[in-house]
Amino acid sequence: MKKIILYAAFGMLLFGAACTQEKKLPIYGDREAKITKDANGNEKIDTVYKTIPNFKFLNQDSVEVTQDAFNNKIYVADFFFTSCTTICPVMHRNMKTIYDKYKGNQNVMFLSHTIDFKYDKPSVLKKYAQKLGVDVSQWQFLYGDKAAVYGLAEKDYLVAVQEDNAATDGYVHQGWLVLVDKHKRIRGAYDGTKTEEVEKLKSDMDILLAEKD
C-alpha cells in the first residue's frame, strides 16, 4: 500500500513538473519562411520575424540616437506629445510606475516618440522629462520629422497616429505601450491608460526578461 502511494506521489510530481513549463509571450507581426543553406550545403528553413527597423532621431539631450542604444535590451515604446492633455498624462503616469519597477535595470529601457514635430524639439522634451522626473538615459525621449516618426508608428509599431486640427490638442493617437524584445520583435501591446493592462505589461516584462534567446 505504501508503495502505491509513493508511486502515485512520484507520478504527480512528474506531471506537475511537466505542467510548469515556462510561459512564453507571442511574437507579433508578419513572418516569412526563408530557406538558407549551411556550410555543408544542407537546406534549412528559418522563420524571419518582423522587426523594428533602424532609426535615427534626436533625444532630449540633442544627441543622435539609433537602435544601437537598445541593443540586447527589452524596451517599452510609446507615442505621445508634450502638450497633450487627453491620454498622455495618464499613460506616462502609468509608464512611470513601470520605470520605477525597473529603474537601474541594465536590460530594460523606455522610449517615448513625440508625434508633435512642430513644437516638441529636444529642449522641450528635456524640460518635459525633467518635470516628469525621468530625465535619465534609461528613458529616451526622441524627436524626428513627421514622415519618419509617423511611418515607424504605423508600419512598424502598429500604433495609429495622426495630425488632426479638429482634435483637442491637434493630434490623435493611440495609447499603446509596445513591448519589444532583444531581437527588436514586438511581443505585446498594452493600453497605457488602463492600470490593469499596465500590471499585465509588468508581469509580461518579467517573463520576457527570463526568456532564453
Partner: protein
Amino acid sequence: MVVYTFFLTAIAIVINACQSASEIEMAKYLSNGKDIYIARCQNCHGANGEGLGELAPPLTDTVFLKVNKQKLACYIKNGANEPMQIHGKTYQEKMPAFKDLHDIDIAQVLVYVTNSFGNQQGMYTYEQVAKDLQNCK
C-alpha cells in the same frame, strides 16, 4: 409658557431640518463632484490628488486652495497659465480650460477637491461660482 415652548421646539425642528437638507446637498455635490473629477481632472492630478511630477501640481496644499478659493473656478473654466506656488514649489505648466463645464459642475468638482485629499473646507455653491467667474482676470 406652552406657546413659548412650542415656538422653541418649532425653531429647533426648522434648524434641524435645514441642517440635514444642507448635508444632503453637500453629499450630492461630493458624489457628483467625484464623478466629474474622475472624468476630467484625474488624468493629470491623480486619483489621490497627488499631481504628476512637476507637470501637474498636487491638490493637497490646503493653504493654497483656501487662499485662492475665489480663483479656483477661473482656473477650471478658463485654464491657467501663471506660475503657482504649491507646497513651496513652483509649477508653471499650462492648465487647459474646461469651457464646457457649467457653474454647477465647477461647484461640485470644487466641493469634491476642497473636501478630499486631506482638505476640509466645506460647501461652495454654484451661485458663488457665478460670482467668482465674473471676477476672473
